[in-house]
Symmetry: D2
Subunit: 292 residues, 4 copies
């Protein structure tokens, strides 16, 4: 479906690293790769000088690299321990598995599934879970299984347990809340730390909680926004991944805000999921480093 005729990139490995900042980290990591003949294709690093934290994302070609992929972790451990690093290793030929949670509004789930189907994103969607039955037809039309799991105060704990089982049985790597209007329980959040992506329909921290477009209208703001963030136990307070806004005016009714906001929500959520899929996000102190 692509307009490009560029050859597919070769398989790469990506290291995501954070640790206390001190001299020599760059040299140690790039030296490690050079030693094994690794050809670096991307290197991003960042230092938070207030907190003295170092962050790095380094991606190199596996072709020609002197270590087989399953020996990389053990070999890198010496470097990692020297700097007390937190680190993760990803391979570009792995296809991550994404679950989508949805309520009644279909625009975000539609947009996500269209990106998957058209090959824009390299991701599998083994299932969609909805607390309303409405999106079933739409989801199944994409050949994706839909689980209708209504949630009430009484059955919430039980439903979440069932959801967790489902997610595990489908080997889900991360979850996207596509305008899912339920608060997740602590167990669910703990099971997918920094791996549940929500879209909130305001420019947080303004207008958290329910009905932000109505609040925005009442306050008479001249912009509306959307915020994508990782879910934590505190509502709408997790680490922000992406935000954007649209200009509005006195002409816009609440319905106009809702209509315009839908496009904003789709775009901001898609941008956050894209960054997550590219393994470009590091989280610390309830904030994100998002390499671009």
């Amino acid at each position: 479906m692509h307009e490009s005729t560029r050859p597919a990139p070769t398989t790469t490995a990506t290291l995501l690293i954070s640790c206390n900042d001190r001299e020599g980290i760059d040299a140690a990591v790039t030296g490690f790769l050079a030693e094994h003949g690794g050809n670096i294709v991307h290197l991003d690093q960042h230092v938070d000088f207030e907190e003295n934290v170092f962050f790095m994302r380094i991606e190199w070609e596996l072709a020609g690299f002197g270590l087989p992929r399953d020996e990389i972790p053990a070999a890198f451990r010496a470097v990692a321990e020297r700097f007390a690093m937190n680190w993760r290793l990803h391979f570009s030929d792995y296809t991550p598995r994404m679950a989508i949670f949805v309520s009644r509004l279909p625009h975000c789930v539609f947009d996500l599934l269209a990106r998957v189907e058209s090959g824009e994103w390299k991701v599998e969607v083994p299932l969609v879970i909805g607390n309303h039955p409405d999106p079933a037809g739409l989801v199944e039309r994409f050949g994706v299984e839909f689980h209708h799991m209504p949630v009430s105060p009484e059955n919430r704990a039980e439903q979440e347990r069932r959801q967790l089982e489902l997610l595990r049985s489908r080997k889900v790597d991360f979850i996207v809340l596509a305008r899912y209007m339920q608060i997740l329980g602590e167990e669910m959040v703990a099971a997918y730390p920094n791996r549940i992506i929500n879209i909130h329909h305001s420019f947080l921290p303004a207008f958290p909680g329910a009905r932000p477009y109505h609040s925005a209208y009442a306050r008479g703001v001249k912009i509306i926004g959307a915020t994508s963030h990782y879910v934590t136990v505190e509502l709408d307070a997790g680490p922000i991944i992406a935000q954007d806004i649209m200009h509005v005016s006195h002409k816009d009714t609440v319905d106009d805000l809702i209509r315009k906001g839908r496009d904003l929500e789709k775009m901001v959520l898609a941008r956050a999921v894209w960054s997550h899929l590219q393994n470009k996000i590091l989280v610390y102190h309830n904030k994100t480093v998002v390499f671009d």
Copy 2:
């Protein structure tokens, strides 16, 4: 599917007017409505002082209006003739019929059909015409008929004649070219004047014609754009309806521009179609007045 609980608006009539500017037009039009008890819900007007042209869009409730809808044209004619107006009359309970032309890239047609299906837009799509077979499955999944009509230099005239017949038989009001990579013939353009909406993947007048992302990359621009315009016989030179841009950087390859541009194309095209559906566009001198 809407979040709103607002009651549906009542049926309205909308007049779109343009004429040479002179004193008293506003008073004549609003006086005409007042005389018949018309409650104005929107009034937009604009004067191009360089060209001395007056434009107005006026929308009023039919409930309580003193004239039955089929008598409005005759009654308004006196006002219109006094100022030598060009004018059109629309009723909000008419559902326009939109045909979509597509080539291989599915993102725009997907986005359009999703908006129609979710009820975001009040429009019927009786058919999609494609010069490639690829989008057939996607389109039919929305319950819309797909006509595969490949076009070559040899059969172009014949195919356009068949297309025009199809469009007429389906009572199509306007056409959207959703990344349709063929140039339309004069007969087609003449059959739908200011009623064929194209999306071009650059900020026109920069990078008209083929492969604008490649040209943008080669020039090293720091923004990419998309332009929606009415189709005229001159390629990419019709009246512009909507434009927007995204910031890019040296990090973006041609493939990145293509990927980012897809979202831009979807958004800008949707904005233009929305304005068209709202009867908010007036065309003159190869330019548009787009009321918001």
Copy 3:
């Protein structure tokens, strides 16, 4: 200084109107102008259907108008009373008088004075009042008198009284707080209702009060904003006139946010002052209608 060779526009009168919405207002107002041969150059109107309030801004040429300007109010009164209108009348050849309040940061006052001096805005600045002495030299360089009036909890009431006297003696029409870091007293606010324009360095309602860039940094937002609003007695809660944002990233320190924010503050404040100078703002229910 202008690049344009367009002839200066003729003198115009502008009516700003708000009232309960009902049928016939447009016809009554445009009929009044037509009756006296008024050539309308701009007409904007808006209806808030939730609150049932009608707003209009109508501007017409005085040349050829059948009423001398001092007879317009009495003549219009009949129309106004029929619809219980709130209304104001402005003439385009009047040059409004703007006072500027400033603390230590010079970028906003610099930008405002540069616009006045270069002829971009038609406004007089009879004085600048500062609670710090720092901007004195800069202000006087523009030939504008600077009053250093330090404010402390003890002398606040007394200083405001002196400020009000100064403002009256200089016939000030409206006040711009150009990053003035003091809260105004009730008497001052009451003396200039909807005529004191503030710039707050966040996208309100997020981050009201002191040090919003520090709060934005701590929260890890991906956008920073600025908000221009009319001052009311409640801090940072007045009717919003203009807002805009800039994208930021993990790379931006608090100092970067402050640096980038300065440009945003200048632009948003200038946009709000421009709208005010054009008599394009109507206030109701702590919100604004800003015609463009």
Copy 4:
């Protein structure tokens, strides 16, 4: 003037490097710094895979670095030669010297001088050269010398020779054309390669040359733009540093475009100068890498 209380950063050295891409460059450069105890504060790199060119900007603290600053070039040469690097070395305690060229419009020169005076930028402005006398008073008010050097087809070569002498005598490092409406000669361009920054008032490559706002108006575009680029001998065709746009509508006259464009020009030019001052720009193949 700053709101920040952060301690001033220590003096740093910055290397800007480009060369053909191959394995081991990162390791060689970071290894060189590690060897001498250099604490890296910023590292940005980029690879253009189409052209196989590697780019790096690396900044480290001089405090604690094992080499005195005048020995760095000789020591680094071994690394540089191994990879056939183009490279430059900057020290953060050097204050660059910027000349400004201006014609009649004052907004850009005003904005630049205000940023210098308020301490926002660390740069000296030894002189401003104008081909019109108008900005003299404004410039001298900032304590900067102004040279009125009118240019005509007859005296152009002679004036440029005098300008070059002036620039050399004032030890100017780079030149900013602040809406200077003259084309520079080849000798001038050759004397300051990639060190003359222009602001053009359109989104290039659209509307190069004279009167772009008039052309934009005539075409009926819905955005206007500004482009800052390094000057080459071909008019408006040099490497683009920064671009931005504003949305406009049918309501905007040419005068409105000019007025709105002024703010855009100021902002885009300032952003380009800032990147230049931070030594964040690398030029190749008539394009730029602009690290942020």
